[in-house]
Amino acid sequence: MSERIGIVAVAQTKYQKSRPDVRESELVYEVVEKLLTETGLRFTDDGTGIDAAVTCSHDHWDGVTISSWPIADVTGGHLRPEEKVAEDGIFAAYYAFIQILSGHYDVVLVTAHTKESQTSKNLIENSSFDPVYHQMLGLDYTMCAALQAKRYMYKYGITEEQCARVVVKNKKNACKNPNAQEPAELEIGDVLSSRPLAYPIRYLDKKPTSDGACAMILAREEKAKKLTDRPVWIEGVGSCYEGYYIGDRELGDCENLIKAAKSAYRMAGISDPKKEIGVFEISEEYSYQELLWTEGLGLCDKGRGGTLIESGATALDGEIPVNPSGGLLSGVPTNVAGLSRVAEAVIQLQGKGGDRQVSARKALAQGMCGPCGQLQCVMVLGI
């Protein structure tokens, strides 16, 4: 990379079970307003402000075709460039990064929003499956996650207790995050005795329904340094897809995440992520995913994700803290999920983590989309 691209400011709403007080555009403006206030930037056409916006939202979730239209007015989209990513918000950050890297823009706004409280998650997920072979079976992401969890447990002897530890750790971390929706001090037994959703996944193994938004501003190096004294540089990005048919995939492993991570590490010049990266904010919609994704990110060998959490290494005070924010299990909406991982990574590297602050000069954010982490994206950030 000839010139570095930095994230200069991030903003999140407090994540809540339901936000009946705001429409999508009003929700998004909460985070956009914070960024405009913090940076002093305005939307301009002359290269002195924000040049463009990339937003992430989903038509089905918002109940309108082209879900970025209703938020165009609050993301600078009035007579100005705005483009939408319908997969996870981390891809919107990736898109903005590429826009700046191409030389086309200098400063780009990225937003992601979803109000999960407004409709049925299972139905939206069902409609993403093949209408000929799969929709009629009633597939959704929770039951697919259960199929993956069972396969992973079978293949490597991962236990339900090890998965429950993820919930206990992340909800405890969330107690130190003022934006977290559902912080809690839990015991492993609380998780194991919560009501079953889809064996082996229980109520507390799944991220709760959540409403919220996240936004950030990316800028090329020269401008980033003027906009903040603590820019966070995007040092590497990688993404990888996996097959459409769930039965085609070996669900006990995550080859696509392994490849996405390798691509990001190569770009960032990382050879040993466990030693070189100090904090990890990753997308665990279900508890087992944190264990499987830590394997995919190369923090431990295949099948050792359970042992890794038992060792305490991924705790807030461990060697490689994973999800000091409390993760998705503490409540972050889909689509916002991956962008909020990037935001939390930036917060850590800027030293703004408050009670959840850890010591790190490099951070990793991971986002995903589709059933069982079908599409993966890994971003390495540094100061």
Partner: protein, 146 residues
């Protein structure tokens, strides 16, 4: 605060395509499960699709499977699903059919919870009145001995 109700109801006519149409027609007509094989990599796909995802050419070698297979993973779902006219709990599995290289997702039935395990040998049960869709397979059950 006012909550404003909304609803999207859309009718679709999804094309099953020439590969999917043949698979579903055979399922309806004769309870036969057809897979499709790639001549280059020899991978056998079920459900069948036109193009091999690793070799990037269209497939035309049809293979009839006998429907028996091995359970790769499973789950029992305890919540209802509004798309389906079925009651919770429902058990799903991914089944590697003999002769295929991919897994087929479907329902499991006629099996006790304590007997569910990865590796279980299964056979399909078909509907008597079939409509040319994936639900013409009613479910998979453990192979009856004998």
């Amino acid at each position: 605060m006012l909550l404003f109700p909304g609803k999207i109801i859309m009718d679709y006519s999804h094309a099953a395509g020439r590969v999917g149409s043949r698979f579903l027609a055979e399922l309806k007509k004769s309870k036969r499960l057809l897979a499709i094989r790639c001549r280059t990599c020899n991978r056998v796909y079920i459900p069948p699709r036109l193009t091999c995802k690793t070799c990037f050419h269209n497939m035309e070698d049809w293979i009839e499977l006998d429907g028996r297979g091995t359970l790769l993973t499973y789950t029992t779902v305890y919540y209802g699903e509004p798309v389906l006219d079925r009651e919770a709990p429902t058990t799903y599995g991914i089944i590697r059919l003999d002769g295929a290289d991919t897994g087929l997702v479907h329902f499991l039935n006629e099996v006790k919870q304590q007997d569910l395990r990865v590796g279980l040998r299964l056979e399909p049960v078909f509907k008597n009145e079939r409509n040319g869709n994936i639900l013409d397979i009613k479910y998979f059950r453990p192979i009856k001995s004998g």
